[in-house]
Symmetry: C2
Subunit: 402 residues, 2 copies
């Protein structure tokens, strides 16, 4: 099982969930199911900077993931925590269809019947790209220290100017890769993509190294040396640079190219070296294609999200170097703290579109650094403290009528 | 041994070689050594459409290749045929340094000493990109039916208008991939490239399938089914199209993505399915990056060369489909009959730059469909007959003083 679950504050009872906000949203991709859900802090409540008189419920937004192949574990998790009871209520529907859970990703279609059968709830399907964009826009605007650059071992947080965020390129690296030009809060277009993504790294990596999990494979790549298997310019030029076209002797001429001439079989290579070459090949390729697409549309900012990255330094470094190399320093790769949860976050936010006088009047507010309205939408958000991990955000929920 | 040698007409004696043209040029890449050399037809001679009074020597241009790792076999081959005696003579040099053989590719640097030791000749190094471009320009202009498109099983020859050839994008897929914008006979720039090329296909393919040769791996891919290992849009969406963004259920969402969820090890997959997925991943990726670069510079024509292709239908089809898909039908992939020999051909042609009154006065003439001067340069070429394979071209050599 490859489950990470966010910290959960307090013990949530079914009754409590049914009477209060506990929205659950799902993003069911080809490899992973991502969950975002809210839980109330036991007994705690948070002031909204004193600027509002509305009742405040303190709580946490939680982020969790499961492998899609282990969807039954995921449904068991949801059932045990009664998360499915906190969906959107459709009063006019018969009792059995009363609860709708927001869901996105292809699995929202594929597993719709299974989820109805196991949890007794229906999925309200939200379009995948809309959710990615809504999630990214929200996180970039609402969460302090959401975006950062990473290069040469240095992580630098990026201050997002809310009035100068658009346009940007959003590159979501899931099993495959989607590239979306985002022009405004509501305007976007999927302009490109590549099938060489996280599923390729994990699929090929599993076949080549026999690792048992994606994280194990990433970990392994950390201590590998790609020069063992990659053919470098120096391998072809006898240690010399190919200076005429500006390629140094350590530039990779051909990924996995040394495996052609060695009289070695797969088992003669160290799995960590294989993992490193693979990670570098895929990261570099994504960085290059992303930059070429950004260039085509004149986009200077590229944000990378999706669960392929997992905050892995070498992955981010390789993507950054690729973007920097191909753009001759003109473009910069930026990463998102909640990289893997953009789609789920977007689906979660789509609850607010249902203005049915029920729990939809609730609004999430994060309180750090300042209370902040999410422009043009009803959810507002401020952070209560520092972000320690990907897995939960302290937040406050205001019972507003907007 | 993976050696293909062109048909050789007649038995060539050392004396004959020394007294007549037998230029040899080498392109020593990371995976393959490519040879182009001229041999005279025994006793035959060919008229040059009656428009010239110069003596004519009939003969053939030959194309051969060896694996770079088996360079000793290659040198043995050259020695046994005494091809090394037909290089460029440097009269002022001491006897031992008298013969210079034109060579390009990184191996011209790396193996310079070895070749000097084994064959007693020196390599005159020609810049790699210049040779690729000179070879491509020459072949496109001089050889009938050199360029063709390939799609849906249909090969269509492209008529090259000599006055409307430039600009174009040349994509040379060797171990790695170079992308060169060609603006005129003499003006070009390497604008991009990718490390995911032929060396990746062969290197990764060897590790995954235990094939013994590149050609065996290509052959194997011919009968494989990529859907076994690739994750398709339909796999994620439960058989549905993702119509919102125009992806059909059979679009590859993630190359090798199904290998993540199956409880299968490498040996549980058929090697032919693995080979097919790999070929498709790499061909598609090259097609996409090529198109994005062509778009950036407004280039409508993309010519693909390099030994990765080897006239393999599925490879060409995938590249064509990728270019067609990403360009929405605006750009077209074209292929070159002598795809693998662009660099070697360019190096061969660089002999003409040495106007030392020796064998450099000779000029090659191909006579089909018409005698044709190679514009702005001294080599002219016409074809004597149909091209039957990659391996030799009938041609005539005129003893001209230009």
């Amino acid at each position: 099982m490859d489950v990470r679950e966010g910290e959960i504050q307090g013990n949530l009872e079914a009754d409590e969930f049914e009477s209060q906000i506990s929205h659950l949203a799902l993003d069911i991709g080809g490899s992973l199911i991502k969950l975002v859900y809210f839980s109330r802090n036991n007994g705690s409540s948070i002031e909204d900077n004193g600027r509002t008189k509305h009742p405040v419920l303190g709580g946490r937004l939680h982020f969790a993931k499961f492998e899609t192949s282990k969807i039954n574990d995921c449904l068991e998790f949801i059932h045990s925590k009664k998360l499915h009871l906190g969906g959107f209520r459709r009063h006019e529907a018969p009792a059995s269809d009363k609860i709708l859970i927001k869901a996105t990703g292809g699995g929202a279609y594929k597993f719709s019947d299974l989820i109805k059968e196991k949890l007794g709830v229906s999925l309200e399907k939200e379009e995948e790209m809309s959710c990615l964009v809504a999630g990214a826009n929200f996180l970039l605007k609402a969460v302090h220290q959401e975006a950062f650059t990473y290069m040469d071992g240095q992580k630098e947080y990026v201050q997002i100017d809310h009035n100068d965020l658009y346009p940007y390129l959003l590159v979501n690296i899931g099993s495959g890769v989607s590239m979306i030009k985002v022009d405004s809060d509501s305007k976007f277009e999927r302009i490109s993509g590549t099938s060489v993504g996280g599923g390729t790294f994990w699929g090929l990596g599993r076949l080549l190294t026999r690792c048992k999990s994606f994280d194990e494979l990433l970990e392994l790549s950390h201590c590998g040396n790609n020069r063992v298997i990659d053919m470098l310019v120096g391998d072809i030029y006898g240690g010399l640079d190919y200076s005429k076209i500006g390629l140094s002797s350590t530039t990779i001429a051909s990924s996995f190219g040394r495996a052609i001439s060695d009289n070695k079989e797969l088992e003669d290579y160290k799995p960590e070296d294989v993992a490193r070459s693979l990670l570098r090949m895929i990261s570099n390729n994504i960085g290059q294609i992303s930059y070429l697409n950004a260039l085509q549309f004149g986009l200077k900012r590229i944000f990378f999200g999706g669960f392929f990255i997992r905050g892995h330094e070498y992955t981010m470094d390789t993507i950054s170097v690729a973007v920097n190399f191909w753009s001759k320093g003109e473009a910069k790769a930026m990463f998102l703290h909640h990289e893997g949860f953009l789609g789920a976050m977007g689906a979660f936010m789509s609850y607010e579109n249902h203005d049915d006088g029920d729990s939809m009047n609730h609004q999430l507010v994060q309180q750090f650094p300042v209370s902040m309205a999410y422009p043009g939408r009803k959810i507002c958000c401020s952070l209560n403290g520092n972000l320690n991990d990907n897995e939960s955000i302290d937040c406050a929920v205001l019972q507003l009528s907007v």
